[in-house]
């Protein structure tokens, strides 16, 4: 009953949304890319997508500059 977020083990919570997980882990950057088990989750899906148990989650944030 756990998740792997950016390579680190995090406790799994039943029926938690992506938005809930991001809030719990204090990912406060506004422009992020989220993938769950390799699938891109768009921002409009954060409130409706439930994070499955044993999921591998990658979160990266985009910083201006180029």
């Amino acid at each position: 009953m756990s998740l792997i977020v950016n390579g680190k083990e995090v406790a799994y919570k039943k029926q938690e949304t992506v938005a809930g997980l991001l809030n719990r882990l204090q990912f406060t950057f506004p422009l992020i890319i989220v993938k769950i088990n390799g699938t891109l989750i768009k921002k409009k899906q954060y409130e409706t997508t439930i994070v499955p148990d044993n999921a591998r989650i990658d979160v990266v944030h985009m910083i201006s500059g180029g």
């Binding site: 990658d58 944030h61 985009m62 201006s64 500059g65 180029g66």
Partner: protein, 198 residues
């Protein structure tokens, strides 16, 4: 130098196409590095013209000021390597169809400036061209502490990443860090394009 290996690499790269979204600090440096590596074809897309303020980090020259960036860069690339086939697109990429100029690319480089544009471009490419490796960069502002840069691999998305870097909105963009990240992207592109050879 191992000339036999170099010849093998050149043969492989001469048949490959790389798409580059944005030819500012990242994109112009990526393009020149790939041209020197004898890439076959480049698709370069940008809406901007060369400004004097660009010269502190972008691969342009004094006499390029005022020129359309993709046209000025095409000339520079051909001075390095006249064999590169270039598709130069002078347009602003619009969210929802930012991937469109890049059909046919073997690898795509995200070389945009603003964080929002980077996110939109990555989402468009992952959705519409999921089979094409995409190499982005995040955290190119400032100077020093380059040991923090890592490659994050998220499936087909590769990100040259310094998660602790400042935003260019609050900090400076300078040639060494920008060129470092650009060449990191170009090196990753070569790794993906060449694959395993002996």
């Amino acid at each position: 130098m191992n000339q036999e290996k170099l010849a093998q690499i050149t043969t492989i790269l001469s048949k490959k196409t790389v798409g580059i979204a944005g030819v500012g600090g990242l994109g112009s440096n990526v393009a020149v590095a790939l041209a020197r590596s004898k890439i076959g074809r480049l698709i370069i897309v940008d809406h901007d013209i060369v400004d004097e303020s660009n010269l502190n980090r972008q691969y342009f020259f004094q006499d390029d000021i005022g020129k359309v960036k993709v046209e000025a860069l095409s000339d520079i690339i051909h001075r390095v390597n006249p064999s590169v086939s270039i598709t130069a697109v002078h347009t602003r990429l619009m969210p929802g169809c930012m991937h469109e100029p890049f059909h046919g690319a073997d690898v795509i480089i995200e070389a945009l400036d603003e964080a929002l544009s980077k996110k939109q471009f990555i989402e468009d490419v992952l959705e519409h061209l999921p089979g094409v490796p995409l190499i982005g960069a995040s955290g190119v502002a400032g100077y020093g502490q380059s040991d923090r840069i890592v490659t994050r691999e998220l499936g087909n998305l590769y990100l040259c990443y310094d998660e602790h870097a400042p935003s260019s909105d609050d900090d400076v963009l300078l040639a060494p860090k920008v060129a470092l990240m650009a060449n990191w992207q170009a090196d990753l592109a070569l790794t993906l394009l060449i694959g395993d050879i002996r």
